[in-house]
Amino acid sequence: MEEVQAFLTGRIWLREHTPFPSSVIDHYIDKGFITPHRGIHSNVINGIFKTNKKQCRRCGCTQLASYHCAKCNGTCFYCRHCIRMGRVSSCTQLITWTGPKVELFTKHTFNWQGTLTPAQAKASQELLESIHQNQSHLVHAVCGAGKTELLFPAVFDLLARGKRVCVATPRTDVVLELAPRFQQVFPETTIHALYGGSPGHTNYAQLIIATTHQLLRFEEAFDVVFVDEADAFPYTVDDALQFAVQKAKKKDAVVHYITATPSNELMKKADKISLISERFHGFPLPVPRFDGLWDYDKHIKKGRLSSKLQSWTQECLDNGRPFLIFFPTIDLMERALPLFQQLDSNILAVHAEDPDRKEKVMELREKKVPGLLTTTILERGITIPNVQVAVVGADEAIFTSSALIQIGGRVGRSVNYPKGDLVFFHHGITFAMDKAKATIETHNAKREKP
């Protein structure tokens, strides 16, 4: 029984996709330990007109496709939204564990020698208090404040009390970065890192680091959920992901948020907010400078690189400083790539669908590549010592103030190189650019007057 229990506790799984034979599952269904659910359930909404809306049991999506199914010889609905996790349809079964609870495991080692800055310590303490009072907490900490470290004491406190904890984030890159750090700090704790294409686990983990997407596979599992980078794409635009977080936590569990750029909505949602305006190394945030770069798109389309952009890049190359240049669209970036490669043939470009993204970023860190052209995909979660950053077309709508703040947050993260150039090339200063600059300056001002 332990195996099935360990696998299914807190999970909601397609019956055919479990590693157990059908007879075993039937046996536990008879005992009442496993509860089967219909893949698509009807949600009756009582309004003026009573409507019967069909909904995917796993992701909550209500836009379903239908066809004549040969298995049940009738019309079947299926959900396209979460189809990559195995199709959920009217005649598939999702199963959850409703049997005896997993034995609490409270012996965890906390192997962390680092120290928190006074600002981090204060926020960490406030977060702990909120956890004990069961109220939602938002940690609003500038890029490079050391958000992950201040989570460690809170997570340890929860684990030691036998709670099941999840650290969720919209970005796979962030999961990949966080998981090894947590494993190092909690060496005896079973930790699962879950993201699209991650290896499957069949055992029970008390701490789960996952993309918000993977939380679709959990139901009433967690005592506490931390959402890191809670304002990142696609979490904010995809209702299913917010549904996933709500579904994955236990009914009375609380969600805490951590981000450098909270939306107004998020500020309202939280019961308590801790603000950290100071980076862990104590140096101020790099303030962006604005530089007019007129008709950059026309220039690039004509196969010319503006002299400003050229000299900026050349300076980075000459001084051996790694650089990132952000572009508003993949199309413009790809047109610009050969022009940059005339300066140095090793310059590469990355975007969201690039299969070699991880490797290219690694090459930049190892200085095998002098610089990268990128879309907003690299706005978060990457740390490269002494990196210089330029945004081409900072006036484009895709560069919201929070995107610009996050992009700026890449600069000066390491103690050895706390400064660096952050330039927004534009043709017309936008409200978002002004807001980003003002926000950064406000944080810096607060830092000086504690």
Binding site: A65, H68, C69, A70, Y78, R87, S89, C91
Partner: protein, 206 residues
């Protein structure tokens, strides 16, 4: 309209053609659509010369090339059971509505059909609103997928004809043409049962 494959929003251009000829609306964006490649015209009969099946298939047409993009879409359609994707190819198969021949899809074994919950060939034709008739049935539930090229080409016939096809002109429809064994086996049994002519069409040519 949201693109069926990349789910990005796209605008459908209105045209006179659409208004008067009631062309079906696009279901994928132009960017996704441009990733499909038309199949190249490759000689298909040569390797069958001298075998039992020489001349069984009178002609063969394939619409798309099996490029990486098509592989991805096809996998999502056939193995992740995303039947909605059949609509992408509705426009390419629509001309079969006017074909005089009897349209015969390659069938699935009944057990396989229940396991997969749908027949990938039937759904393509249904999406394109093409009338068809099942005259073949599969005898054994075996898959070609794991076999080598040689094993496929020398495998035993797995079809039988279940209705009268005497003097009929038939158009066989399949999803994917790899070695051509399936279509030739089907054409062979149909000819033996008295079919006058057997042509073939596949969506993809590997």
């Amino acid at each position: 309209m949201n693109c069926l494959t990349c789910s990005s929003l796209f605008l459908e251009t209105s045209s006179w053609q659409r208004l008067f000829f009631m062309r079906q609306a696009e279901v994928i964006c132009s960017k996704c659509k441009s990733k499909f490649e038309k199949a190249k015209d490759i000689e298909h009969e040569t390797q069958w010369i001298g075998t039992l099946y020489e001349g069984a298939l009178d002609s063969l047409t394939s619409i798309y090339d099996y490029n990486e993009w098509m592989k991805q879409i096809y996998r999502q359609y056939k193995f992740q059971h995303d039947i909605e994707l059949a609509k992408i190819f509705a426009q390419d198969l629509r001309h079969l509505q006017k074909v005089q021949d009897l349209i015969v899809p390659i069938p699935l074994h009944p057990e396989m059909l229940i396991e997969r919950t749908f027949s990938q060939v039937d759904q393509l034709l249904l999406a394109a609103n093409v009338q068809f008739k099942h005259v073949l049935s599969k005898m054994r539930n075996s898959s070609q997928v794991k076999k080598s090229k040689n094993e496929r080409m020398t495998s035993e016939i797995n079809f039988e004809v279940c209705t009268n096809v005497q003097n009929q002109s038939i158009l066989l429809v399949d999803d994917l043409y790899t070695t051509g064994t399936t279509l030739r086996h089907a054409a062979f049994v149909l000819k033996q049962a008295g079919a006058q002519k057997v042509n073939g069409i596949t969506l993809i040519r590997a």
